[in-house]
Amino acid sequence: VSTPEPEKNEAAAAAKSATAAPQPQPEGPSRDWGVIIRNVFTAENSAMVTFLAIVLALVVGAIMIVLSSTDTMNKLGYFFAAPGDFLSSAWNEISSAYSSLFKGAIFDPATISGTPDQFFGPISNTLEYATPLIFGGLAISVAFRAGMFNIGGQGQLIVGAIFASYVGFSWTALPGALHMIVAVLAGIVGGMLYGGIVGWLKAKRGAHEVIVTIMLNYVALLFLGGWLLNTSVFHNPAAAGQAISKPAASSAVLPHLFGDQLFTDIGLLFALAAAFGVAWFFKRSKLGFEVRAVGLRPSAARTAGINVSRVQIASMLISGALMGLIGVTQTLGLANPNNNSLSPNIDAGLGFSAITVALLGRTKPWGVVGASLLFGALQAGGALMQTQAQVSIEIITVIQALIVIFVAAPQLVKEIFRLRAHRIDTGKGGEEAPPSVDPFHTTETITVAGGEE
C-alpha cells in the first residue's frame, strides 16, 4: 500500500526545502516555556508534511484494519502457498473501509442522481461534527498563545451546557429568536466563569493550571451527573430513573442552516464567526497583542508594562467562553441525541479532542478551522464505516492521534520518506545535510542548508 511513488519523493524534498528556508536570526540559548509553546504551534510547516502525515496515518490505520480481521489473518497462514488470497482479502477489507469512510464524509457517488439532500448529506454531517471542534480548537489556541494549557475544556463546556440548558427549558417566556440568543449567551457566560476560575487561581494564587483544570473537570462532571440531573429543577420527570434533563424548548433550539433534511445547524455560523473574531483578536486588538507577548516571554512582557495577571485571566475567560459554546451546540444543536436535553456524557470527550485540533491547526484560527473540518470528516466517515464495513470507530481515534503526532514531528515524516528515496535514487547521496537538531518548533533558527537541491 505504501510503495513510494516518485511524486512522493519529490514532495518530501519539496517539503524539506520549504521548511529549511533560511531564517538567520541567531538566538541565545535561553529558551522560555512560552517560546516553546508558541513555536510548536506557529512555526511554518508545509502543507505537504501535513498531507504526508495524513497518508501515513491512513496507512497505519489500514495495517490495523487488516491485523484485526481474523478472516484475513487466517489467509496469512498459507501466504506462501497462495499469496493472492491474502492480498485480495486484505485489499477488500481496506478498500471497503476507506471507501465507506469517504462516502460518509464527503459524498457518495451513488447519490449523484439522487436529491440534493442525499448528495449533500455526508458533507453536512462533516460540518456538524466540525462545529464543536472549531470552538474547542480556538479555545485551546487562545489559552496557549498566553502560555497556558487549558485541559479544562470538559468542565467548561459542561458548565456552559448547564447554563444553556437551564435557560433553554425554563425561560420559555422569552419570544422566539431572543430565547435562543439568551440561551447561547448563557452558555458562553457559564463557560467563561468556569474558565475564569482557572485564570484567577493561576494569576493570583499561583496555582498550576493543569492541576486546577483537571480538578475542575471532575467537579463539573460529578456535579452534573451525580447531583444536578437528579434535582427537581433539572430532572425530566418523563424519564424516570435516567439522569437526563428536561428538553430545551423548541424556541431555544438552534435552527437548521441548510434546510430541514440536512444535518447542520447555525452553530457552524457561530463557529466561523468565532474563528474570524479570534483571528482579528490576535492580529489587531491590543489585548491579543498582549496575550501573544505574555505567551512569548512573560518576564519581558511584564517589563514592557503589560499586566501579566490580567492578560492570563482574560485569555482564560475567552478560552472558557469558547468552550462554553461547545456546551451550547452540544445541548441546543442537532448534535444532541436526546431531544436537546442534558445528559451526563454531554461533553463527548470534546474538551480533549480540541487539543489535538489546536495542535494540528498550529493555534492559528483558520488552521484550526481546517483541522476541525478534517477531524469532523473523519468522525462523520467513521460512523458510516462502522455500520457499513464493520470497522469499529476507534480506528478513527488512532488515525487522528497519528496524524497529530506525524504533523508535530515533521522530521519523522521526512525521515520515513527520505529513507526510501535513498534506496531508489542513490545519486544524491554523500552531500546529505545532517538531520536538523531542531526541526521547526523550539527555536526560530533553522540552520539546515538545503542539501538536496
Binding site: G206, V210, F352, S392, T397, H441
Partner: protein
Amino acid sequence: MSTASATGNATTTVAAVVPDTRSKLISGLAEAIIGALALWGFGLSSRVGDNTHTLFGLKFDPNQVGGLSPISAPSQPVALALSSLAILCGLVRAFAPMTRKVQIWVDGVYFASIVLAFLVWVAAGSTVGLNIPSIIALTAAGAVPLILGSLSGLLCERSGVVNIAIEGQFLFGAFSAVITASSTGSLWAGAIAGCLGGALMGSLLAVFANRYLIEQVVLGVVLNLLALGITGFLYKSLMQTNQSSYNSVSQFDSFRIPGLASIWVIGPVLFDQPLIIYLTVFLVVLVHLGLFRTRWGLRTRAVGEHPAAADTVGIKVLRLRYRNVMLGGAFAGLGGAWLVGNVGNFTEAMTNGKGFIALAAVIFGRWSPFGALAAAGLFGFTDALANQTSSLQLPVPSDLLSTLPYVATLFAVAGLIGRVRAPAADGKPYIKG
C-alpha cells in the same frame, strides 16, 4: 509548566514577607470557617441528635463469628468535639507563629478531625455502621495504581520530561497484561507484560519528546488518545467476541506476612494482601532513596533542573531521560496490570481518568515520592469512602461527596501549598550544542 514559577518568582522577591503572612492568615481563617461549617453541619444536624450512636466495625470479614466487637461512639458529642478541634487548629494556624514543620502537623490534625467528624456524622444511627478495615483495604487497593502512576510521572518530570501520558501508559499496560495473562494463564506473566506495555508507551513519549521535540504536554494528550484508540479498537475487534480466551484474568493472590498480619485491626487488612501492594510501597521507598541518596538520583535531578550544566560535567542527558521515562512507563504499566487484576477483565477506557489523578498526585505531592504516596492515599481514601457510604441513607448524594477530594485539592493548590515549583527544565527538550 514552569510559567507558574516564572511568574511567581518576580512577585515573591519584591515582597516576600507580606503576602506570606497574609496567605497564612487567609488559609487559617478559611480552615476555621470550614471547621465552623462542619460544626453546624455535622455536630448540630438532626442526624446526630436524639442520643444517636455511630458504629465503627473492626472486623474485616463482617460474617466472622466472634472477634472484635464494633466501637460505638455517641455521635453528637464526638462530632462536636472533633469540629471544635478543627476550628481550633484553623485559628492556631491563622494567628500563632509557627515553623513550617509545626504547620504541617496542625494541618494534619485539622484534616483528620474534619474527616472523622464527617465519618461520625455519615454513619450516625446506622445499625451496620462503617467498617474501618474494609475502608482501609479499599483505600490501599485504590491507591496502588495511583501511586505507581505518580511514580511514573515523578521519574519523568524529575528528569525534565512532562508526563501527561500516564493514562495511556495505564491503558496500554492493562491491555498487554490482560491479553498475556489470559493466553498464558499466569497473572504474573501478565504483570510483566503490563510493565513492558507501559514501557513501550513510555518509550514513545521519550522518543517523540527528546528526538522529535514535540511539545510534551500536547504529546501526552495525543499519546493518551492513541492508547485509547488502539486498545479500544483491539478490544472491540478481538476481545469482545472472544472474552474467555482473551479477556479473563484471575485476581492476584494475597500473601500473608507472618507476624505483622496479626496486628490489631490493621494487621489482616494491610499485611494479608497481594504482593503488588507491598511491591508498590517498596518502590516508593526505593525511588525516594534512589532520587536523594544515589548517584543516579543526583544525575536525574541535575538533568531535570539544568541539563546544560549536567552535560558539561559529562552526564549523558538524553540517555538518562530515555531510561527514566521508560522506567516510569513500566511502573505505570504495572499499575495498569493491577487495575485489570482487580476487576478481572479489560473494558474500553477502563482507566477512567486515573492517570490524570496520578498526575495531580505528583504535583500535590510536590514531586517527592512520599508526597505522591500521601496524595494518592488521599484520593484512594475518598474513593473508598464514597464506595462505603453509598449504601447509607445520606442527605447528600455520594457522587457530590466524591467531588470533595477534588475541591480540597483545588484549595490546597491555591492556598495551602501555594506556588509549587516544578523541576526547572520540566518540559524543555535538551538540544546539545
